[in-house]
Each structure stands twice: as structure tokens, then as C-alpha cells.
Symmetry: C2
Subunit: 466 residues, 2 copies
């Protein structure tokens, strides 16, 4: 066993089996799924089973002046879960209990290591629904979803993770246990500490329990596909849909690069000759057919070549599945674009006001040309939240530099259009500079003041966010 | 003109007309609508017109070490806007511009002094809807709504104020101007400072601009009335409605005291022999009639004596109007209950998980008997958020003491049932002790640390919240 006085203290607190120092395992806990981010090798990975054990770990680490990096499933896309050299990685993998599901109050109480899909399935048995559905939902954890305020495809109508978090239990840098929020539908008792911790990427505390709000199981939906001659016309259709007062429950955009990547990854008859495809759904109800007709009308007026409704639930599910494959399909496409499988993706996550989406899409095309990098665009069009995926050759510094430049240009454009540098992936390491530009010097000072108030020694996930 | 070096500085910054020291006017700015709360006489009331003027006021006050108390329309019910002796009251009354309405991005940007109803009407012209509708919506301001995170009747389906605040401009204690949030539908750039300021009751900064999200104008709705033999059976019906997965757009409870008070205040043929009445609405759509039938079924199964649907929109509007009259009607009822019009109301605001509502209502009846005070109950049943209104004789210390005891007993019960001491009115002065009990010593320390980080001299709305 590795020798370090910290390790002895951790073993005393958690038992040997929960304190891991195997080099391969440490290497496997160095980083999340973001490219272009630094990472380090942790000294140790611990797997606490409950809040008291997490508190013990934080107290031990504080005593030794060692940083603490919380990790869920490491599916993040901004490097927020990346380890630093010599850190204690707190893995929530052993804290995966769904503690309570209350169908009358429509809440669930879970440990942070519960996988999103596991929670979704557990509440479904009670006729309930946990809407937030990030792309990683089959593997990412609720703790990670909360720490990054994860989005997903349902957000356009049903909102992001933060809108479902009623209360938290958090281990602070001091090792104290804080409970925030409530179990009630409404509540305004004191500062909204719950929302302060949601999206704070492990820099203010380690989340040990989450109380979430649930909805009744969703209605069936009708699905529409619209094929566009350019991505900008698809963007125009999104603005038109908002302007007409329509509220689709899903409104996703895929460009040709993504359609081809998906079709290669798993052939399913997608229109790979289309420049852009909008995928929309509306919840059923009296107005569903009417809403669908109005969506189709707007798409046609915006320049769609072809508009058709899914004929049945099977076709609709297949279309949704195609959209869900965008990320792995593009990863494979990128890998295969360069010799030796060295291709990689730099994933942007810019969000603009819906009315500016067409300008953003036009601009991304210009940036791809100017920087001489392939950029595929996919994303949550209804939210104005796009993921321009920049394809780079990891083995070629010049390609990486061009990709980095395109990445920065896209964020600059996003801010110019009144947008944000991150719609749902978070700041992590990847966008620290851009956060500072977006929130300005006063915003940075307020962030620093809050961080210093809650983590004066700066041991919680150091280097992230700002 | 009153002489104080501070006043000269304020006049230099704002001009004489915006710096008010008339004693009657000062007296009129001492307090909001909450009973049982201390207040003081401000040294001066200022009416800045823009952000720069607010920043100038805060800097002048800081230089002189004088507290700053922000005020909107003073319709609050927790004393959060009450002045302290010698303070500078910053009235937002002259900052009432709707700066922007963007129908495509579905946002509006407003100054804090805009009245809720004025915003609602302005966006309605664009086919849009600003849902938060506190009881005071015809007079309360968006700044005050944001500072207290105001609720309302639509919350059961459409959420409270915080869910509509995308971004803020805030003057900090330092006089610096902070911009938080965004104009986009989604965004996770940095800590959620927007939500930290929402509901912070003027203790962390003075809100000078608000960017709100809007919805398409709402659908028509169908309205149902259910008459119950006891308030607890009405509470049982609310649990049953949640359990059946129904999502009414309105679900309000009125007890007999309120029905009689309203009928006396404005006769409209309400069933004053009923012990409790539930008022429910569902948005129209394919399932509306079906949903209404299921609501009726649940109410009947829970023991309702009579259940009927509003025959038309006029009847539905009248019922809603009756509910909106509950507060003024109860105030008059209370005033007239004691000689000399000395009767007053102590307004509780407890929220419990929906499944515990019947227990809360039962408990309130027991407390009324034990404390020998009349208590009328009204509130947002669908959210589990009740306003037990305690009738006291302001001229009789014994009556006030009994009322205060009942008030405390109700909050104690609310916390025991897993609830919160304030569902929507806020902490202010009225519930400081109960906030501390609810959030515990660690929670209080975190509140204090954040307050100290943002307002080290403690000059912003001192004495409020904690």
C-alpha cells in the first residue's frame, strides 16, 4: 500500500476497501470527457458510502491541506471533474441509493451517485417523471448533473436540472454538513443556497443528497421532421416557431455533418443530402395536431424542402434515438477523419437568444471556413443552445491550434449575439477565460468573494470555474 | 430643508427633487403591510431614476456609514421593506420603465419599479404572458417581487417569480454595478448569482434592472368548485389530486371564515355555509374535460358535499375575483371584529409537502382552539402553501400575545410536517427566529458568510432575514 499520512487517516475513517491507490485506477480517474483540458494524477480515489464518510474525507483532506475533487461518472464536457496532481478524488459511485419516492408530494430523495436513467426508471414505476435528460443520461449521475446543472432535450419545454432540485445536502469545506432547500413545492426561507450549489461544479462543497421535484408521467407526443437547404434557414424556422407562440416539447437541429456521421455510425435511412434537419415534437392534447400543422407551416415558410410527421411512435422513437447518437457518432467520425484514429472533437456549447440563432449558425459556417476546420453543428435549437463540434487532429499541433481558434471565435460570436459561453456543459477548465469575459470584473470579484467565504483554503476542486 | 451632510451629498448626486425629507412622507415609508414588526423612521427617502443614481446613493450612504433600505410598493407581508431609524430609503418608484419586450426570445427587460400588472398588460399586447401573480399584483413592483421571490395563484402549474428571472442588474454595497444571468433560455456560466439575489430581500444589493422570461399567452381554462364539510377533507382532496397525477393550473382553498368575510366585503353568492371550498382550474386541451371530471371524482371521494363546474368564463372570473378579495376582505373582517376597528391580522405563510396538507389544516384548527384566537385559512392548496390568518385585537396585549403564540405554533407544526416557515412571503423581520430554526446553525453560518462577503459593513437592509 502507498504510504502517506493522509492515506492512513482515510483508511481509518473509511476502511481499506474504500481507499484506492492502484495506479491504473488512479489513471482512470484523471479526467472527464472534455478535450483540450489539463488534468493531473490523484493521490487517492475514495468511495465513501454516506454523508458522514464524505465529511470525514473532507476533514482529513483539509487537515493535510490536500485538494478534494468530487467525481460522478466523469461524463462532463468541460473538464470540471478533472483531477489535479496529488488530490483526493471523492467518487460518488458507492452512494447510489434512491432513498425515497413520494408520489403525493411528487419528490424523490437520492444519493448523488444514482445514475440519471436509474432515477428516471424508478420514478416511472410510480407514474412519475424526472425530466432532465442530458445526452449522457444512461451513465451520468444525479450528483454530476446537479453540480453542472445539466440540460438535455426536454429543456425547451420542461427546463434544466436546477428547476427540479428542491433541496441538497452538502459537505462544506469545513467538513460541516449543510442542508439547503426543502421538500415543499414552494419556499422562500433565506438565501437560495440550493441554487448557489447547483452548477457550482464542486467548488463550494460536495453534494451528498439531492431532493428532486417530479412531474406526472408525460403525455404521448407527435413528432415532426423538417429538412432545410441551409442551417441558417433552419435557424430562421426556430425563431418563427417562437414568434408564433408555439411550445414544442422538443426542438433539435442536426446539420449534414451530424446526419452523415450518425448514418455511418448506425444506418437508419436519414436524409444525408439535407444541409440541416429540425426534429420537433409536441405533446398531445386538443391542439397537438393543430400545433404540428402550424410548426410545419413555419418550417415551410422558412424555406424547408420537405416536412413530414413521424407515422407512428416507433418512427418517432427512432428519430429521437438518431439525435441521441449524435455525440458518439461524431466522435467516431472525428477519430476516423485523421490517420491513426487521432481525430478528436472540441465541443462548443454556446447559447444565444432564440431570435439570434440563424446569425449564430451563419457565423459558425464562416468561422469553419476562416479557420479551415470541419465543424458539425447539433443542438437544442429551441433553447438557442448549439454544440458546434470542431474536428481536430490531436497529433497535429497546427490542427489543434486552428480548432482552439475556432472554439474561441464561436464563443466570441455567441457573446456578441447576447449569448453565453455555456448553455449546459459548464465552465470547468475549458471556459474559465470566457467566463471572466462574460461576467466581467465585478462578477469575477463576487464569485471570488463567495468562494473565499465558503472555501477559504481553496481546497475544493481547485482551478475550476475561475 | 433638513441639514445632514449626507443629504447635501445626496442632493448633489440626484438633484433636490429626488431627495425627500418631508416628515409625513418619511412616516409613510416606515413599513410594509406586515403586522407585529418593528420599524423606524428614515432620515430620507430618495427616488433615483436610473442605475447610476442608485449606485451614487449607495456610495454616499456607505461613505457616511448610513443603512440603505430598498422599497418598492411596500406591499410585503414580512416587514422586509421596513425602514430603520436614520436610514436612506431607496424607493424604486421613479424607475418604472419597461425597457424591452422581445417576442421571439420571449423576454422583457424592466426597471424594478414597474408594477406587476403593468408588465403583465404590456407583454399581453405581444401575445405573451408574465405568469407570477402575487395577490398584490395590481400594486406591487417587479423589484419587490424579485427581492421577495413572490408567489401567487398560478404557481401550482407555472412556478414562482424566481423561475422567470433570467438576469439582474444589482448595485452592490460597494456601489459597483453587477450584472448577473443572461438573456438566453439556458445558461450555466458560473455561480447562479441571479438566484442568490432573488429572494434576498435587499440584504445583498439593490436591484436596478430585471430580465424576465415570458410565456405564450395562456390557454383558456375550465373552473371547478368543490364544497367540503371540513377543511381537512379539502386537504385530503388536494393530496388525492396530486396522487392521481393531475396538474391543475389553479388549486386554491378558502375556509368558512374567508368565504363569509368575502361575502360581507362584496356579496357574490358564495356558499358561506360551507366549511371549506376548493377552487380548481385546468387549462383547456384534449384532456381538459376529462381532467375536470377526474378532479370532481377525487373531490367527491374525499368527501365533498357538492361539486360543480363554472358554467362560463364570467362565472369562472367571478370565482377567481372572490379568491383575490380574500386578503382585503379578511382585513376588514378582522378590523370589525374588535371595537374601534382595532382588529388586525397576523398572516402566516407556512408550506408543507402536499401529502401533509390535511394534517396541517387539522393542526391549525387545534391551535386556534388552544390559543383562543379566530384563525381563517386561505391559500394555495395545490402547493401545500397555506395562509392561516390570525385575528387579533391590536389594542389588547393579551390578544396580541395569543395571536403571536398561535403564529409560532403554526410554524412549529409546519416544520414538523417537513415544511417551511415561509412559502412565498419571505422572512423579513417576522420570521427571523424561525428561519434560524429551519436552516440550522450551519445554514445560518453560511448565510452570514455570504452576507459578510457581499456587504461587509452590513449597511444593506440591516436586521432583515437573519
Amino acid at each position: 500500500m502507498a504510504a502517506h499520512p493522509l492515506l492512513d487517516d482515510l483508511r481509518a475513517a473509511l476502511g481499506d476497501a474504500a481507499v484506492l491507490t492502484d495506479p491504473d485506477l488512479l489513471a482512470g480517474h484523471e479526467r472527464d470527457e472534455a478535450d483540450l483540458c489539463d488534468s493531473g494524477t490523484p493521490l487517492v480515489v475514495v468511495r465513501p458510502r454516506d454523508t458522514e464518510e464524505v465529511a470525514a474525507v473532507v476533514r482529513v483532506a483539509a487537515r493535510h491541506g490536500v485538494p478534494v475533487v468530487p467525481q460522478g461518472a466523469r461524463t462532463g464536457l468541460a473538464g470540471a471533474a478533472n483531477a489535479v496532481d496529488g488530490a483526493v478524488v471523492v467518487s460518488t459511485v458507492a452512494m447510489d441509493a434512491v432513498r425515497e419516492i413520494d408520489p403525493v408530494s411528487r419528490i424523490a430523495v437520492v444519493q448523488p451517485g444514482v445514475v440519471n436513467a436509474a432515477l428516471a426508471r424508478a420514478v416511472r414505476e410510480h407514474g412519475l417523471w424526472y425530466p432532465p435528460d442530458p445526452g449522457s443520461w444512461e451513465s451520468s449521475t444525479i450528483g454530476g448533473n446537479v453540480a453542472t446543472n445539466a440540460g438535455g432535450m426536454c429543456c425547451v419545454k420542461y427546463g434544466v436540472t436546477s428547476e427540479y432540485v428542491l433541496g441538497l445536502e452538502v459537505v462544506l469545506a469545513s467538513g460541516e454538513v449543510l442542508r439547503t432547500g426543502r421538500r415543499t413545492a414552494k419556499g422562500v426561507a433565506g438565501y437560495d443556497l440550493t441554487r448557489l450549489f447547483v452548477g457550482s461544479e464542486g467548488t463550494l462543497g460536495v453534494i451528498t443528497e439531492v431532493t428532486v421535484a417530479l412531474r406526472p408521467a408525460p403525455e404521448e407526443s407527435l413528432t415532426l421532421v423538417a429538412v432545410f437547404p441551409t442551417v441558417a434557414t433552419a435557424g430562421g424556422a426556430v425563431a418563427g416557431i417562437a414568434e408564433r407562440g408555439l411550445t414544442p416539447s422538443l426542438l433539435e437541429l442536426l446539420d449534414r455533418t451530424h446526419l452523415r456521421a450518425i448514418e455511418t455510425y448506425r444506418p437508419m435511412g436519414l436524409r444525408t443530402d439535407a444541409e440541416a434537419l429540425l426534429l420537433a415534437a409536441v405533446d398531445t392534447g386538443a391542439r397537438a395536431a393543430d400545433d404540428l400543422a402550424r410548426l410545419a407551416e413555419v418550417c415551410t415558410a422558412a424555406g424547408a424542402d420537405e416536412v413530414y410527421a413521424a407515422t407512428d411512435a416507433t418512427e418517432a422513437a427512432a428519430l429521437l434515438q438518431a439525435r441521441r447518437l449524435a455525440h458518439p457518432a461524431m466522435e467516431r467520425f472525428a477519430a476516423e477523419t485523421f490517420p491513426g484514429g487521432n481525430g478528436g472533437l472540441v465541443i462548443d456549447d454556446v447559447a444565444v437568444p432564440r431570435g439570434r440563432l440563424a446569425e449564430l449558425l451563419d457565423g459558425v459556417a464562416r468561422i469553419a471556413e476562416a479557420c479551415r476546420v470541419p465543424i458539425g453543428v447539433v443542438g437544442h435549437a429551441g433553447d438557442g443552445n448549439m454544440h458546434p463540434n470542431i474536428v481536430v487532429d490531436r497529433a497535429d499541433p497546427a490542427s489543434l491550434a486552428r480548432g482552439r481558434r475556432a472554439f474561441d471565435e464561436i464563443m466570441r460570436l455567441g457573446l456578441e449575439l447576447g449569448g453565453t459561453c455555456t448553455g449546459e456543459h459548464g465552465v470547468g477548465l475549458l471556459k474559465r477565460d470566457w467566463l471572466a469575459r462574460e461576467i466581467g470584473p465585478v462578477g469575477v470579484r463576487v464569485h471570488q468573494a463567495i468562494k473565499a467565504a465558503l472555501d477559504p483554503a481553496g481546497l475544493l476542486n481547485p482551478g475550476k470555474v475561475f
